[in-house]
C-alpha cells in the first residue's frame, strides 16, 4: 500500500503542509504565554488567507501577499484586543465571535476572487544544494516561507528563553498582578502579543490560499486554526515542541492525501477525518498521565486583568 510513495517527497510535502499550522501555533503560543486565550485563530487565519490572496493578485507579488495576510490577521486580532483588554469581555466568547465573524467577512471580501490563480511562490534557488540526493529534495528545495516558519520557531524560543522581553512576557502570563505591581504595562504587552498572534495566523492563512491550495474558496482553512490551538496544548507552550506537533500533523495530512490518491481501500471521507481524530488522540495523551500538559499552562491564562489601583 505504501509502495508508490517516495519517502523524500513525503517528508518534503509534510514540511510544506505544516507551515500554516506552525505559523498560527507559534503566534497563539506567544498570545497564551502572555496569559490571553484567543480562540479566534481560525477566523484570523481565514482573514489572512483572503487578504493575502487579494493583495497578491492585485500587486502581482506573492511576498506582498504574505504581508497582506499578516496585516489582515493582525487587523482582526485588534477587535479581539479591544474586546478583551479594554472592554474586559469574556475571552472564550470573544474568540468564538472572532471566528464566526472572520468566516463571514472573508467570504464577503473574497467573493469576486473565486477561481483566480495567485502569483506563484517559487522555491528558493539554493544552487547545487538542491541536487544532493534525498536531502536536496527534503531540505533544500522549498519556498522561503518554509524556512521562515522554522526561523520563527527558533527566534521565538530564543526570545522566550534568553531575553528580557521574553521574561516580561512570561511574567505577564504567569501573574498579571505581580507584573503590574512591578510597573509593567500588562494591557499594552498583551495587546502587542495578540497582534503578533494575529499577524502569524494571518500569514499562515495566506500560505494556505497562496501556496497550499492555491486559490480562494470559502472556508479554505478547514479547521487549521483549531488544530493550531490543539498543537499549542500538545507543545506544552514550548516552541520546538510546537514544530514537532505541526510536523506530526502535517505528516498525517500528507499521508492520508497520498493514500487517497493511491486509491486505498479506505473510503476518502474516513481518510479526511483522520487528521482531526489524531489531533484529539494526541490531546488526550498530552492532557492525561504524568506529563499533564495543563501543569505547564501559563497561570493567568484566560483571566482578564483589571487594574483596581
Amino acid at each position: 500500500m505504501f509502495g508508490g510513495i517516495d519517502p523524500a517527497l513525503l517528508i518534503a510535502a509534510l514540511m510544506v503542509a505544516s507551515v500554516p499550522i506552525i505559523l498560527a501555533a507559534i503566534g497563539e503560543l506567544i498570545v497564551e504565554r502572555a496569559g490571553v486565550l484567543n480562540l479566534g485563530v481560525e477566523g484570523m487565519m481565514i482573514m489572512g488567507a483572503v487578504c493575502g490572496f487579494i493583495m497578491a493578485v492585485q500587486t502581482g507579488s506573492a511576498v506582498m501577499g504574505f504581508v497582506g495576510g499578516a496585516l489582515g490577521g493582525a487587523a482582526l486580532s485588534l477587535i479581539f484586543a479591544l474586546l478583551t483588554q479594554v472592554l474586559l469581555a469574556n475571552q472564550v466568547a470573544s474568540g468564538l465571535a472572532l471566528t464566526l465573524f472572520g468566516l463571514g467577512l472573508s467570504s464577503l471580501i473574497g467573493q469576486n476572487f473565486v477561481g483566480i490563480r495567485p502569483p506563484a511562490t517559487g522555491a528558493v534557488p539554493l544552487g547545487p544544494l538542491a541536487d544532493i540526493p534525498f536531502f536536496g529534495r527534503v531540505l533544500f528545495s522549498h519556498d522561503w516561507v518554509v524556512y521562515f516558519s522554522i526561523a520563527v520557531v527558533a527566534v521565538t524560543w530564543w526570545v522566550l528563553k534568553a531575553t528580557r522581553m521574553g521574561l516580561i512576557l512570561r511574567a505577564v502570563g504567569e501573574s498579571h498582578d505581580a507584573a503590574h505591581a512591578l510597573g509593567y504595562k500588562v494591557r499594552k504587552i498583551r495587546v502587542l502579543a495578540i497582534m503578533f498572534g494575529g499577524a502569524m495566523a494571518g500569514m499562515g492563512g495566506a500560505y494556505v490560499s497562496l501556496v497550499r491550495v492555491p486559490q480562494w474558496t470559502d472556508g479554505i482553512t478547514a479547521g487549521a486554526g483549531w488544530i493550531a490551538l490543539a498543537i499549542v496544548v500538545f507543545a506544552s507552550w514550548r516552541p520546538w515542541r510546537a514544530l514537532v506537533g505541526a510536523y506530526l500533523f502535517g505528516g498525517i495530512t500528507v499521508l492520508q492525501l497520498n493514500l487517497q490518491a493511491a486509491g486505498a481501500r479506505i473510503p476518502v471521507e474516513y481518510l479526511s477525518m483522520s487528521p482531526y481524530l489524531i489531533t484529539i488522540l494526541v490531546l488526550v495523551i498530552m492532557s492525561s498521565g504524568k506529563g499533564k500538559a495543563a501543569l505547564n499552562a501559563p497561570a493567568s491564562l484566560g483571566q482578564n486583568f483589571h487594574a483596581s489601583r
Partner: protein, 362 residues
C-alpha cells in the same frame, strides 16, 4: 479620563438593556457595511428586519419560515446555555446536530416503506441519542483525561461532516436516486416525516420541542437545585465544590443535555424542512446558536426572543439576497458583528464608567 469601576453585582437594568443596545449598534454598523457594498443601508436594514414580517407580497411566504428557522436555533441554544452558565464550553453543537440527523434518519430509513405509528417516536429517540453520544465523547475525555472540551467538541464537527458525506454517498443513499448523493426524501414517507402541523404557520414538532425546552430550562434554573448548582459552578467554582457539587457529573450532564437537544434539532430538521440527508445538510445552526445563547443572556426567555430575532436575520438575509443582491456572506458577517457588540456593551452591566481619577486609597 475614563475609568472603570467594578460593580459589586451586575446591574439588572443594563443586563436587560445591553442586548437591545447591541442590536441597535449592529444595525448601524451593519448599515455602514451594506453602504460600503453599494447598497442603500436603510433599505437593506428594512428588508432584513421588517419586510419578512410585513411586506405585502413576501410576508405570507416568509412569516412561517420564522418558526422553521427559530426552532432549531432555540433548541440548540437552550442546551448550550446550561453548559455556558456552568463554564462548560460545548461549541461542537454543529456536529451533534449532524449526528442526531444521521441517527434519526437512519432509523426512519431502516423501516422504509413500512407504516407504523412508532417509527417517528423511535426516530426522535435515536436523534437525541445520536447527539448525546457525540457530545459524550468530549465530555468523557474531559472528565477522564482532562482534555479541553472546547477543542475536542469543535474537532468532532469536522469528523461529523465527513461522516455526513460518507453516509449520503454510501449507506443512506437513495437506491432509487439515480446515483445522486443524498438519502430518500423523508417528507414523502409519512410514517417518518415531521410535517407542518398547522398550514401556514411553520409550526412543526421541532418548534414544539423548542418551546418545551424553554419551559423546562426555565423551571430547572429558577426552581430546581440542579439549576442552582449549574449557576454556582459557573460563578464560583470553589464554592460549588465545597457545597458538594460534583464537577464530573455536571460536565456529563451539561454536555449530555446540549448534545441531545442539538441532536433533536438535527432530527426534526432532516425529517421536516430539509427532508433528506445530503452533503450540504448542515447550514451552521450549531454555530449561530452560540450567538443566540449569548444574545439571550443565557436566559431561557431571552433565548426564545433571541432565536426569533436571529431567525429573522436569516430570512431577511435571504430576502435581501433576492431583492437587493446582497451577498449571502454579508448576513453571516452581520450575525458575527452582533456577538461583538453584545460582548462589548456587556461592560456596562459589570462596570461603572467614571470620569476622572480615583483618589489613591493609602
Amino acid at each position: 479620563m475614563l475609568r472603570l469601576e467594578k460593580r459589586p453585582s451586575p446591574s439588572r437594568f443594563w443586563q436587560g438593556a445591553t442586548p437591545v443596545l447591541a442590536v441597535v449598534l449592529t444595525m448601524i454598523a451593519g448599515g455602514l457595511m451594506f453602504a460600503a457594498l453599494g447598497k442603500n443601508p436603510v433599505e437593506a436594514i428594512r428588508t432584513i428586519f421588517w419586510d419578512p414580517l410585513f411586506h405585502p407580497q413576501f410576508a405570507s411566504y416568509s412569516r412561517p419560515q420564522l418558526l422553521v428557522k427559530a426552532g432549531p436555533l432555540i433548541l440548540i441554544a437552550i442546551g448550550l446555555s446550561l453548559g455556558f452558565r456552568a463554564g462548560i464550553w460545548n461549541i461542537g453543537a454543529e456536529g451533534q446536530y449532524i449526528m442526531g440527523a444521521l441517527f434519526g434518519a437512519g432509523v426512519g430509513l431502516a423501516f422504509y416503506p413500512a407504516d407504523h405509528w412508532f417509527i417517528f417516536p423511535l426516530m426522535v429517540i435515536a436523534g437525541a441519542l445520536g447527539g448525546w453520544i457525540w457530545a459524550m465523547i468530549p465530555a468523557i475525555l474531559k472528565t477522564k483525561f482532562n482534555t479541553n472540551e472546547i477543542l475536542v467538541s469543535l474537532l468532532m464537527v469536522y469528523i461529523a461532516q465527513n461522516f455526513l458525506s460518507s453516509m449520503s454517498l454510501g449507506l443512506l443513499r437513495n437506491p432509487q436516486g439515480g446515483g445522486f448523493p443524498g438519502s430518500r426524501n423523508l417528507s414523502q414517507y409519512p410514517a417518518a416525516s415531521n410535517p407542518e402541523l398547522f398550514a401556514g404557520t411553520g409550526m412543526h414538532w421541532g418548534v414544539i420541542a423548542a418551546l418545551m425546552a424553554v419551559i423546562a430550562a426555565y423551571i430547572l434554573l429558577q426552581r430546581h437545585i440542579l439549576g442552582f448548582h449549574i449557576k454556582l459552578a459557573g460563578q464560583a467554582p470553589r464554592a460549588a465544590r465545597y457545597a458538594g457539587v460534583n464537577p464530573t457529573g455536571l460536565v456529563l450532564l451539561c454536555m449530555g443535555i446540549s448534545g441531545a437537544l442539538a441532536g433533536l434539532a438535527g432530527l426534526f430538521e432532516v425529517a421536516g424542512p430539509a427532508g433528506q440527508i445530503s452533503i450540504g445538510f448542515n447550514v451552521g445552526y450549531g454555530f449561530t446558536a452560540i450567538i443566540v445563547a449569548f444574545l439571550g443572556r443565557l436566559n431561557p426567555i431571552g433565548i426564545l426572543l433571541a432565536g426569533l430575532l436571529m431567525a429573522l436575520t436569516y430570512i431577511g438575509g435571504e430576502l435581501a439576497q433576492f431583492m437587493l443582491g446582497l451577498p449571502a456572506a454579508a448576513i453571516q458577517a452581520f450575525q458575527g458583528m452582533l456577538l461583538f457588540f453584545l460582548l462589548a456593551v456587556d461592560l456596562l452591566s459589570n462596570y461603572r464608567i467614571r470620569l476622572g481619577y480615583k483618589k489613591e486609597a493609602i
